[in-house]
Amino acid sequence: MSVMTYNGAAIIAMAGKDCVGIAADRRLGVQLTTIATDFPKIFQMQPKLFVGLAGLGTDVQTLKNLLEFRMNLYKLKEERDMSPKVLSHMLGKILYSKRFGPYFVEPIVAGLDESNKPFLSTMDLIGATSEEKDFVVSGTCTGNMFGMCESLYKPNMEAEELFETLAQALLSSVDRDAVSGWGGIVHIITKEGVLTKELKGRQD
């Protein structure tokens, strides 16, 4: 089994009207055996800035710690919060520095910038970044997720509708992928706060 499908993951992030949502499955597996159904893949780096990490579980955790470390250094030096664009670029550079021995992770950065406008970006495992205005996907069933997003997505959705759309896109995608699923978690970030919901999904 490929190293990128060893643990299994599915992450989608979508932009709405002055809000962003990011959703992930909860499974941690060792090839086809499930060993946890509460494995976190989305991490809140700042009140309005989330990072989703899909790929090899150990690198997900290592990279999360490394990102937090570099972010804290930045905050100490600069005395201000890190904007989503800066985090995205920094993550891209960290991944590229390991070009010939990469972290097996394909991250997604989702957040609201200083003017509360949505920011979405994704990158491959060596840091080639792309910013998108509508949605970004990452994980073991990207084909499914692209299909669901292209069908369900509408621009300028409010938080409630964005949640339902994200949740349905994620659940339908992971149901056709053996190594991802076992529940889901969705975060909707608005300028007021973060709405987090745990989804009831198929446990198979």
Partner: protein, 286 residues
């Protein structure tokens, strides 16, 4: 010690410069346990890129599709990278490599301009690129078409991942290079006007977009003139515009998600912490 950082007297935990090979051995072991496909999928740019010289400068063209194996990762990516005010570079191959290599050389050239107080020359950029790419023996997979105008006139260079270069009046690179070259070979002339050159490049890229599966979406054009002006036309031609087609499709009512549709186990709302307004107050000294 956190990966990718070094201690030194002045700056604790400064990130190390250059490539970091500390995960190399671990990754070799991990990849050996792989079943059929030990190759990792990094985003490639598939690509059709062309460059041509004309009477008043150079014209560069590129498609805008980035692929992950056969999946389209980005429909409208930018493949024409800024190198210097008078130079741009189209990149094919592994996306991360083309981005970072062109950015690195661009910054080296800027430092050199500060040192020498002169505009950059194409030959300098070519030499910097080829020296770096040869050093990495082709493992940095960046195939480039570099074009620009300097004091010696307009130039187009092609640079291969292993470090070989060629100076040409017109060239194409990438998976769609054969389709583009077919157009260039049949229609290229010396001393074209700007319009002729732009039309030629658009047709060449179009040949790549429609005939090569690794290239697609739109065509970007960049015109660099000998008088120093640059005309960067992002999405100059959009032959695959989806919006009119999509507007005709009736979106089914079933796709509108009503609130409460998805079953939920737990729901929680956390308001953002309030940041005290006003910032710092001046220290008062009695």
């Amino acid at each position: 010690m956190t990966a990718g950082s070094q201690m030194n007297a002045n700056n604790l935990h400064e990130p190390a410069a250059g490539f970091d090979f500390s995960n190399y051995l671990r990754n070799q072991n991990l990849l050996q346990t792989d079943g059929a496909a030990p190759k990792l999928k990094a985003k490639k740019t598939g690509t059709t890129i062309v460059g041509t010289v004309y009477a008043g400068g150079v014209v560069l063209g590129a498609d805008t599709r980035a692929t992950n194996d056969t999946e389209v990762a980005e429909r409208n990516c930018e493949k024409i990278h800024y190198i210097a005010p008078n130079m741009y570079c189209c990149g094919a191959g592994t996306a991360a490599d083309t981005e970072n290599t062109t950015a690195l050389i661009s910054r080296q050239l800027e430092l050199l301009r500060m040192d020498t107080a002169r505009p950059s020359r194409l030959v300098t950029a070519v030499t910097l690129l080829k020296r770096m790419l040869f050093r990495y023996q082709g493992h940095v997979s960046a195939a480039l078409v570099l074009g620009g105008c300097d004091l010696q006139g307009p130039h187009i260079y092609q640079i291969y991942p292993h470090g070989s270069t060629a100076k040409l009046p017109y060239t194409s690179m990438g998976s769609g290079s054969l389709a583009a070259m077919a157009v260039l070979e049949s229609s290229w002339q010396e001393n074209m006007t700007e319009d002729m050159a732009v039309q030629l490049v658009q047709r060449a890229i179009g040949a790549g977009i429609f005939n090569d599966l690794g290239s697609g979406s739109n065509c970007d054009i960049c015109i660099i003139k000998t008088d120093g002006t640059v005309d960067y036309r992002r999405n100059a031609v959009k032959p695959n515009e989806l919006a009119p087609l999509r507007a005709q499709v009736q979106r089914s009512g079933r796709l509108n998600m009503r609130p409460g549709l998805t079953p939920i186990i737990k729901s929680e709302f956390k308001p953002h912490p309030v940041v005290a307004a006003g910032g710092e107050t001046a220290m008062e000294v009695e």
